[in-house]
C-alpha cells in the first residue's frame, strides 16, 4: 500500500505562479492605482489627474494626496442618491429573480431526469444571445410606440400610450430579466440535492405542503438562495447598460454616474473615488460570496 501512496501525482507548485501573477497584475494592482488616482487632483491634461509622487529639487519624494474628491461626492446629494438607488434597484431585482426563479428551479429539479438537462439548457439559451440585445428587446416592448402600448391601445384598454419605459420599474424589470439564469442555477443545484425521501418523510409526519416547503425545502435550499441573490445583486449594483437604456434620466444608478464622470466629464479622479466607494460597500458581500463558494466546493468534493 505504501508504494501506491507514493505515486500520487504531485502537482508542481509552478502551476499556481502564472495565474497568480496575472490576477495580481491585472486585477489587484489596478485597484491600488484607482485608489491612488482617487486621491489626486483633477487637472486638464492627459491623463487628467495630477501626479501624486514628485521628486522635489532637494531629491526628496513629495506626496500630494487629497480627500477633496471623496468630500465632493459625499456632500453632493446626487451621488448619495445614486448609491441609494443602486442598492434599492439591485435588491429589488434580486428579490424578483428569486420569486420567478424559485418555481422554475424547483420545477426543473422535480421533473423526470431526462428532461432536466434540456430544461436547464432552455434557461441558459437566452444567456448565450447578446446581453445588450436582450435589454434592447424590452425597449421594443415597453416603448411609447412599443408592442405593449400598441396592443393596449388596439384593445381599447388605454386611450393614450402609457409611460412604461425610462423609469425605475423598467430598470428593475431589465435586471430581473437579464440576471434570471444566475438565480436559477445555484437554486437548481441546491434543490436537486434534496432527497425525495426527506420530503416524503415530512408528509408522512403530517406536514401540510406549505409547512413542508417552509420547514424542509426552503432551509435545505438556503445555500442556493444566498448564492443566487449575491450573484444577481452584487454585479447589478454597478450595472450601467440597463439603467442607461431602460431607466431613463430618473434612474440614477452608480454605474451610470461613473460612466458619465469618466466619458462625458472626463473627471478621472472623481470616477476613481466613485469606484473606491462602490467597492467599499460591495467588499463585504463579495467576501461572504467567496467564503460561501469555497465552502460549497470543498463540501461537494468531500461528499
Amino acid at each position: 500500500m505504501k508504494g501506491l501512496r507514493l505515486s500520487i501525482v504531485r502537482s508542481p507548485l509552478w502551476i499556481v505562479v502564472l495565474p497568480y501573477i496575472w490576477l495580481v497584475l491585472f486585477f489587484l494592482i489596478p485597484f491600488l492605482i484607482v485608489l491612488k488616482i482617487s486621491l489626486s487632483e483633477f487637472v486638464i491634461a492627459l491623463p487628467p489627474y495630477d501626479q501624486m509622487f514628485t521628486w522635489t529639487s532637494e531629491g526628496a519624494l513629495s506626496i500630494k494626496a487629497t480627500f477633496e474628491n471623496y468630500k465632493f461626492i459625499l456632500q453632493d446629494s446626487l451621488y448619495v442618491w445614486a448609491y441609494f438607488d443602486s442598492i434599492k434597484i439591485a435588491a429589488s431585482g434580486a428579490l424578483l429573480c428569486l420569486a420567478i426563479g424559485y418555481p422554475i428551479a424547483y420545477g426543473i429539479s422535480k421533473s423526470p431526469e431526462k428532461y432536466r438537462l434540456p430544461l436547464l439548457l432552455l434557461v441558459i439559451l437566452p444567456f448565450w444571445t447578446s446581453f445588450l440585445l436582450r435589454v434592447f428587446s424590452w425597449m421594443g416592448i415597453l416603448g411609447p410606440s412599443g408592442i405593449l402600448n400598441t396592443l393596449l391601445l388596439y384593445w381599447g384598454i388605454i386611450e393614450s400610450p402609457l409611460h412604461l419605459l425610462n423609469n425605475t420599474y423598467a430598470a428593475v424589470l431589465g435586471i430581473t430579466y437579464c440576471y434570471l439564469p444566475f438565480m436559477i442555477f445555484p437554486l437548481y443545484v441546491s434543490l436537486e440535492k434534496i432527497k425525495p425521501s426527506v420530503i416524503e418523510a415530512s408528509y408522512d409526519l403530517g406536514a401540510k405542503p406549505l409547512q413542508t416547503f417552509l420547514s424542509v425545502i426552503l432551509p435545505l435550499s438556503w445555500p442556493g438562495v444566498v448564492a443566487g441573490c449575491m450573484l444577481v445583486a452584487i454585479p447589478a449594483t454597478g450595472e450601467f447598460v440597463i439603467p442607461e437604456l431602460l431607466g431613463g434620466t430618473e434612474t440614477l444608478m452608480i454605474g451610470k454616474q461613473l460612466w458619465i464622470e469618466f466619458f462625458n466629464n472626463r473627471d478621472w479622479p472623481v470616477a476613481a473615488s466613485l469606484t473606491i466607494l462602490t467597492l467599499v460597500f460591495l467588499i463585504t458581500p463579495i467576501l461572504i460570496f467567496q467564503r460561501f463558494e469555497e465552502r460549497e466546493v470543498t463540501h461537494e468534493f468531500e461528499a
Binding site: L4, S7, P19, F26, I33, W128, L231, V241, E294, F301
Partner: protein, 256 residues
C-alpha cells in the same frame, strides 16, 4: 408547473418579439406593415458592422484561449495543492471577478494601462491587445468554476495507475488527465468566448480608437435609434446560437 411555463414565457417572449419585428417593413414602432427582408440587406452592406464583428471574433478567440490556459492552471492549483503561500488571497482573486461590476473592472484596467504608460514611458497601444487582457482577466474566474468541479470529481486512481505503470508525469497529464477534463475545457472555452463576444462595458474602457467591438457598435446604433437593423442582427445571432446548441445537443444525444 403553471409558474414554470410562465417563467419560460418571460424568458422567451422578448426574444421572439425581436425576431418577429426584424421582418417588419416599418422603421421602428410595433405596427406591422408587411413582411420585408430589407433590414437584412442593409446589414450586409454595413462595413463598420462587419469590421466590428471581425474584431470581436478575434478578441473572443484570443481571450477564451488564454483564459482556459490560465484558468485551468489556477483550478488545478486550487484543487490539488491544499496549502501554499497566499492561498487565501489567491482564492479571493479567483472568485471576485465573478461578481465584480464590469464598470469597475473596466475602469481599473484602463487606469492600469495609463499608469504603465506613465511609469515606463512606453506607448501602450490600446486596441485588441488591451481588450484581450481585460477579457481574459474576466473570463479566468468562470473557467476556474467549471474546470475545478470536473477536476474535483475525477478519479485520481487513474493517474496513480498510469504512474505505477511507469508513465512520466507529463505523459500522465497528456494521456490521462487531459482527456478526462477536456469536455470541461471545451465548455469553459465556449463560455469565455460568449462572455467576451457579449461585453460592452469593459471593452469600451480598454479599447482605443479604431477598434470598436460588435457590442460597442450595437450600443451606438441603439442610441441613434437604428432599431430595425438591430432586430435583424439579433435574429442572426439568435439563430446561430440556437442552431449550435441544438446541434451540440443532438451530437451529445447520439454519442450516448
Amino acid at each position: 408547473m403553471f409558474f414554470m411555463v410562465l417563467g419560460y414565457a418571460f424568458l422567451y417572449l422578448p426574444i421572439i418579439s425581436l425576431v418577429v419585428y426584424s421582418f417588419n417593413d416599418s422603421y421602428g414602432g410595433a405596427v406591422w406593415e408587411g413582411f420585408s427582408l430589407k433590414w437584412y440587406g442593409a446589414l450586409f452592406h454595413n462595413n463598420r458592422l462587419i469590421e466590428a464583428t471581425l474584431t470581436s471574433l478575434q478578441v473572443a478567440t484570443y481571450s477564451a484561449t488564454l483564459a482556459v490556459l490560465l484558468g485551468t492552471l489556477a483550478a488545478a492549483a486550487l484543487v490539488r495543492i491544499k496549502r501554499f503561500r497566499g492561498r487565501t488571497i489567491f482564492s479571493v482573486l479567483t472568485a471576485a471577478p465573478l461578481v465584480m461590476p464590469e464598470i469597475i473592472t473596466g475602469l481599473s484596467l484602463l487606469l492600469l494601462f495609463v499608469a504603465f504608460q506613465d511609469m515606463l514611458g512606453i506607448n501602450i497601444h490600446r486596441g485588441i491587445g488591451t481588450v484581450v487582457i481585460a477579457h481574459t482577466t474576466l473570463c479566468i474566474a468562470y473557467v476556474i468554476i467549471i474546470v475545478r468541479t470536473r477536476l474535483g470529481d475525477m478519479d485520481r486512481s487513474l493517474e496513480e495507475a498510469a504512474l505505477d505503470l511507469g508513465a512520466k508525469p507529463l505523459k500522465v497529464f497528456l494521456t490521462v488527465t487531459l482527456p478526462i477534463i477536456s469536455p470541461a475545457l471545451l465548455s469553459a472555452w465556449l463560455l469565455a468566448f460568449a462572455l467576451s463576444m457579449d461585453d460592452l462595458v469593459i471593452a469600451s474602457f480598454t479599447t482605443g480608437p479604431g477598434s470598436s467591438t460588435l457590442p460597442m457598435l450595437i450600443f451606438a446604433s441603439i442610441r441613434f435609434n437604428m432599431t430595425p437593423e438591430i432586430n435583424a442582427l439579433a435574429t442572426i445571432i439568435i439563430s446561430f446560437v440556437a442552431v449550435s446548441v441544438l446541434l451540440a445537443g443532438y451530437l451529445l444525444h447520439r454519442r450516448k
